[in-house]
């Protein structure tokens, strides 16, 4: 078994989506989430607010540098993620392909580093 983070990247719309668009998107994502929950591989998921709400912190020489905006200004921004746990990469890729955002943006599949169990 291996854990993967599925990072959903897409272009952020120039204007906020209409309530109907938001509704349609949530319906699609709900269907996907229910699907992978039934499959038994869902471990966690969150949707993110737009990068306009992001703040980035760096600590240099003990001093915090706080800047407005995301870490990197790119065309496609991180919009949300899923954590899944499954047998192999093919299963993870299969799940990633079903994420609604994969149709317009892209989904990066990153293995999560396995950590040794800590005693206590």
């Amino acid at each position: 078994m291996a854990k993967y983070l599925l990072l959903i990247y897409g272009e952020e719309p120039p204007a906020p989506p209409t309530p109907a668009q938001v509704e349609a998107m949530f319906t699609e994502y709900d269907a996907f989430s229910v699907g992978i929950e039934k499959q038994g591989i869902l471990r966690g998921a969150e949707a993110l607010l737009p990068t306009a709400a992001a703040t980035t912190v760096r600590v240099r020489d003990g001093k915090s540098l706080v800047t407005d905006g995301p870490f990197a200004e790119t065309k496609e921004a991180l919009g949300g993620f899923y954590v899944i746990e499954c047998d192999d990469l093919d299963t993870a890729l299969g799940a990633a392909a079903k994420i609604p955002g994969a149709k317009s943006g892209s989904v990066e599949v990153r293995p999560i580093m396995p950590m040794p169990e800590r005693a206590g």
Partner: protein, 428 residues
Amino acid sequence: MAEAREPRSVADGSIAVVEQTFRAESGRALATLIRVLGDFDLAEEAVQDAFVTAIERWPRDGVPDRPGAWIVTTARNRALDRLRRRRTEAVKVAEIERAASAGVEGDVRLGGESRVADDRLRLIFTCCHPALPLDARVALTLRTLGGLTTPEIARAFLVPEATLAQRIVRAKKKILAAHIPYRVPPDDLLPERLDGVLATLYLIFNEGYTASVGDELVRRDLCAEAIRLSRLVADLMPESTEARGLLSLLLLQDSRRDARTEPDGGLVLLEAQDRARWDRAEMDEGMALVERALAQSGGRPGPYAIQAAIAACHASAAVAADTDWAEIAALYARLAQVAPSPVVDLNRAVAVAMAFGPAEGLVLVEGLRAEGALAEYHLFHATRADLLRRLGRRQEAAVAYERSLALATNGAERAFLERRLAEVRSAG
């Protein structure tokens, strides 16, 4: 004296058996060990250890009844020793021990052959997984499934040995880290994944067949490996017409190898080749395979089977003039449907010109010219120039030859184009 010589000749004999076993069995042993251990490096080290042990023991104790099975069992034990020495968690060792003995003993009990073949098929799908970069797929496939060493592969692809070794290391790490599965993909993924495997094998072959630089012997090895691995896939997946189509295509192309180069290394065009020098055995096998692939495809052959059918049209013509160009043109039209590409359209135009005259071919070429996709491709302009020349439109032909020359880099091709350009200019 005779007594003193006796043990040494027995020893020499067993060393020869170790060498034979290594050639015949190391790839299979590796595939099995990778399955049971789930670790490429550990499997490689263990198989090497097993052969070192064989060199020590076989001269002394005699060659075992089934050398291949002995190697697999010994390698399994050496791998477990290594794991224990590395102080791998006891639970993990026990888990691998269980899986390894079940796996290896299963092979021994079953006589191994079919199971081992399956291991190699699994391994080729792992090595050609789309999560690995193409150059790493090629290197890893040749290194683990082919009989080529890292320096040999590096020489064949004209990359520094360190670069190639690095590619292989990274690929193996990714297989472990990302849990790339070690199996023949399930039905829903199979067509797409098989395409990836066949494309990798075709790339290996082409590197050996068409590259104009590099060590000739190493390049022959690449072709031989591509054919051997295609044969493995075609044999193990008899229901796949494309696997059989690729094997046929490779055999038919390879059969012309000796006839396609001049002693000085220059390329000989297909129509000028001495057909007596084509390899009859390879041709016959390729022709039989493509017939089966076409019959099996139910009228819907894939790109490799169609390309093999085209190669078979050339192979079945005793002299160039007998070539059935109308059939070849029809096959290119089908190929353009299943695998559209402007280069396929250009080849179709050439076949149409051969079958129905340069004017018919030129209509297609002018259509491609309007699309513009081949504007930077020297063979497009060379083809157009040739058709114009044959139609007596010499001035236009000269312009097209000039355009082709401006793009061509291969010395032999440039010499040919310059000769033609001089001809059309002097006649004009």
